[in-house]
């Protein structure tokens, strides 16, 4: 058996629907059709009345989830692409994110965002929006990079009492496979060492994890051992795990697919620089996408975001190789 990242997301939803009567799913074309990416395929049939097609109304989709959450439900909202969540942005950041703080009533809900670039998708179907959500208080922002995490973190998110922005990487949907689904829950908010090493730390998340792992393998062949940290959750950010790794390696490169201004790489580097200054043997480095919209043409697209190649170059540079 071989399970994709996308299968894992579907299976996690199936399990949540089966085990928790509070769960329902709401989104465009997710019912009989099974969703633009088929992340809900078969679920409307298996769970009648609990997998509902919404109108093209991102603002009202989120508002709906907040209201249902207040009444004790655990809604999962599928955005057709992360990029369209900007049309529901106000309800996410001002309604969902503030409710608990203002009223002491929790607002558990999940917004699933198909994120990230794939070749040919262009400026409006490729965005990585973790930064804009993580900046707001009151949201948990998850970025699973593996099939196992996609499954168990989605289940973890369902169990959480807060609104969760669940960033699924579209490139990983089909490209990533595992043999089986995990039986253990993944603790929300904890990073993990995806590959141990002693010469430098590369912090990555989502699709960039795999680019980083490829670089680690490449450099290992040359005798350099890179430790790769998979953040898993960008808000909260597991500073302890990152710091402990940098304490071992003395060198930090942080990689993200999002735009360069602010965001995950800035936050990680700023935290390490300010809280772990003495651990660093060299200046910390960042690698992000370029500061333009995500390009359509594959040539431009490949040059726009970090790749194993550009990560390797930055890593070598940082190691003085």
């Amino acid at each position: 058996m071989s399970i994709t990242y996308l299968d894992a997301i579907r299976e996690a939803q199936a399990r949540a629907l089966a085990e928790d009567p509070r769960v329902f799913i709401y989104g465009q074309d997710i019912g009989a059709f099974g969703g633009a990416f088929k992340a809900t395929k078969g679920l409307a049939q298996r769970f009648p009345g609990r997998v509902l097609d919404s109108p093209i109304s991102e603002d009202a989709m989120i508002g709906m989830a907040v209201g249902a959450s207040v009444e004790g439900m655990r809604p999962i909202i599928e955005m057709q692409f992360a990029d369209f969540s900007t049309a529901g942005f106000n309800q996410i950041v001002n309604q969902a994110a503030t409710l608990h703080w203002r009223t002491n009533v929790p607002c558990p809900m999940i917004v699933r965002l198909p994120c990230g670039g794939t070749s040919g998708s262009g400026p409006f179907h490729s965005q990585s929006l973790e930064t804009i959500y993580a900046h707001y208080p009151g949201l948990v922002v998850l970025t699973p990079a593996t099939v196992e995490d996609a499954y168990s973190m989605l289940l973890g998110a369902v169990a959480l009492d807060d609104p969760v922005i669940f960033c699924e990487h579209k490139y990983l949907y089909y490209h990533l496979k595992a043999e089986q689904l995990p039986t253990e829950a993944t603790p929300i908010g904890k990073a993990r060492i995806a590959r141990p090493g002693r010469d430098m730390t590369v912090v990555a998340y989502s699709a960039m994890l795999h680019e980083a792992l490829a670089v680690a393998q490449e450099l290992a062949a040359e005798g350099t051992e890179i430790e790769v940290v998979d953040l898993r959750s960008v808000k909260p950010l597991d500073t302890d795990t990152v710091m402990a790794s940098v304490a071992r390696t003395g060198r930090l490169l942080c990689v993200g697919e999002a735009w360069p201004w602010g965001g995950v790489t800035a936050e990680v580097v700023a935290r390490v620089a300010s809280e772990g200054f003495g651990l660093l043997d060299a200046p910390p480095r960042r690698l992000n996408a370029k500061d333009t919209p995500v390009p359509y043409h594959p040539n431009l697209w490949a040059a726009h975001r970090p790749t194993a190649r550009s990560i390797a170059a930055a890593a070598r540079d940082l190691l003085g190789l």
Binding site: G63, M64, A68, M73, N94, Q95, L99, H100, V140, P236
Partner: protein, 342 residues
């Protein structure tokens, strides 16, 4: 009950209508005194931030509040002091929120009109206009998914809010799901300073109803006697499965947008027209003319309302404000996920 009472012309039920009318009037009175107290506290510099009054909107607001029952959902807006009270919000919730008492439902974290008790069906507005409609839809969907029926959800908005995308998406969503939603638009002819003709171009806002495939109606909201049955009927239609209801209410705001605003932009001709009548005076007149209350009773009610407000304010003024040192500064319910700020 209100619904049944207000729709039977039978002789014996006049007294029931009188009871409802009197109850409504007394909530209006309480709301008016409460608002006036807030205005005076504002002038004395004792309230932080803005103060927003329902002056002129009490008849509409109370009619909605009374039409709803315990177990229903209500998302009031800035001018709904009367409807909130009638729906069951305590005087002290509003006073505590305005004064920022740590004992209030928002514990000083949020203030003024941004209060509510979601678990009691009273949704706390965010400022973004139109945004509460779909939240009410969600609460109604949850009830439906849980197999609970017979509930109604109501959202108040202003004429200005009808221009928001949220209003549109929320109404359409409710129509598609045929939810028991009542949206009450208080058309007070201005959104802050902006007159209707810079806000929309339809002949009447009720013309929007057909575009959503829902029932709509319009009413004169200066007249409590008209508001009570109209709102009761709208709520009842929603409750009995007729889908979303759009109620457009004509009135005038008899004050500024907030207490910082002198409302000098309001057309004097409108003020002088029937829509500029003070619904509280109209109701008082009606009570007097129908013999349901005499000047002595009216004065007693007034005095009682005044007292209640004074007592609530005096009590809350002695309550502590929030303490930044004991505040947990964590927006998440999952406290174990809190990040310290840097």
């Amino acid at each position: 009950m209100v619904h049944t009472v207000l729709n039977h012309g039978a002789a014996g039920e006049v007294s029931l209508f009188r009871d409802v009318y009197v109850e409504a009037y007394r909530w209006m009175l309480l709301a008016r005194f409460l608002d006036e107290k807030f205005a005076s506290l504002y002038r004395m510099g004792k309230i932080h931030g803005g103060v927003f009054l329902g002056r002129g909107q009490e008849a509409l607001s109370v009619a909605l509040g009374l039409a709803l029952r315990k177990g229903d959902i209500f998302a009031p807006l800035i001018r709904d002091a009367a409807g909130r009270l009638a729906f069951g919000e305590s005087l002290s919730d509003s006073v505590r929120t305005y004064l920022g008492s740590a004992l209030g439902p928002m514990k000083g974290r949020d203030g003024s009109v941004h209060r509510g008790r979601p678990k009691d069906g009273l949704l706390p507005m965010i400022s973004h206009l139109g945004a509460m409609i779909s939240v009410v839809n969600g609460a109604l969907m949850a009830r439906r998914l849980k197999g609970i029926s017979g509930m109604v959800g109501a959202a108040s908005v202003g004429d200005g809010a009808t221009s928001t995308g949220s209003f549109h998406e929320g109404l359409n969503q409710a129509a598609v799901e045929r939810l028991p939603l009542v949206v009450v638009v208080a058309n007070n002819h201005y959104a802050y300073s902006t007159p209707n003709e810079r806000q929309f171009a339809c002949a009447s806002l009720v013309d929007k109803a057909a575009g959503y495939g829902i029932h709509g109606e319009e009413l004169d909201a200066t007249d409590l006697a008209g508001c009570l049955p109209a709102l009761a009927n709208a709520v009842e239609r929603a409750r009995s499965g007729s889908g979303p209801q759009l109620v457009i209410a004509r009135l005038l705001r008899l004050c500024g947008h907030g207490e910082h605003d002198d409302a000098s932009y309001i057309d004097p001709a409108l003020k002088a027209s029937p829509v500029g009548r003070d619904c509280l005076l109209v109701a008082e007149e009606y009570l007097r003319e129908s013999g349901w209350a005499d000047p002595v009773m009216l004065e007693a009610w007034r005095e009682e309302a005044r007292q209640k407000v004074e007592t609530a304010v005096a009590k809350v003024q002695r309550e502590p404000g929030p303490d930044p040192y004991t505040e947990d500064w964590c927006a998440l319910a999952s406290k174990h996920l809190a990040e310290g700020g840097v």
